[in-house]
Symmetry: C2
Subunit: 100 residues, 2 copies
């Protein structure tokens, strides 16, 4: 019951400046815009979504250095944004930047 795996390609819409946890771990959050065509019940459908993403450690530096508009593929897991918010956020395990 521990499977929690997401792979999502998208374009960086905004990136927040790097900050540090009390334990000194670098953290960056960003917003990723996704658009694609998917199959559902035998029909093609246009899919769009805007996903909040979070990177810690060395990944935080990579994400913080990326420019708005950069295309990438993110891999990670879903979690709630905080104990008080049910909003979903994608915690990044890897980032693959697309060549422009």
């Amino acid at each position: 019951m521990t499977i929690n795996r997401v792979q999502l390609s998208g374009q960086i819409l905004s990136v927040q400046p790097i900050r540090y946890t009390p334990a000194g771990i670098p953290v960056t959050e960003a917003s990723l815009g996704h658009h694609s065509e998917q199959q559902e019940a035998g029909l093609k459908r246009q899919v769009t979504c805007e996903v909040s993403v979070k990177a810690l450690g060395s990944l935080a530096h990579q994400l913080a250095a990326a420019q708005t508009g950069t295309c990438l593929t993110a891999t990670g897991f879903l979690a709630t944004k905080s104990l008080k918010s049910r909003q979903l956020i994608l915690h990044l395990e890897s980032i693959e930047f697309q060549e422009t």
Copy 2:
């Protein structure tokens, strides 16, 4: 830029009755509770989230027949709940029910 792939295991928290689109396609929505331990920046962390899931076609009947508390692994893609809501919903492509 079209990768949008989610695999998530969880427990059904609630299931809505089946309904039909104007085109007669069966649709069911449910809420899936997930809890696991993941690795992030070299540290273990407890992850919980509650994800809205949606199934169309034959999957809608499978999901509608499931009991609250049933454990399953869902595979699908993320989309916004509607044009007016940025809330994320997991559109199901397959459901693997866990033996109880």
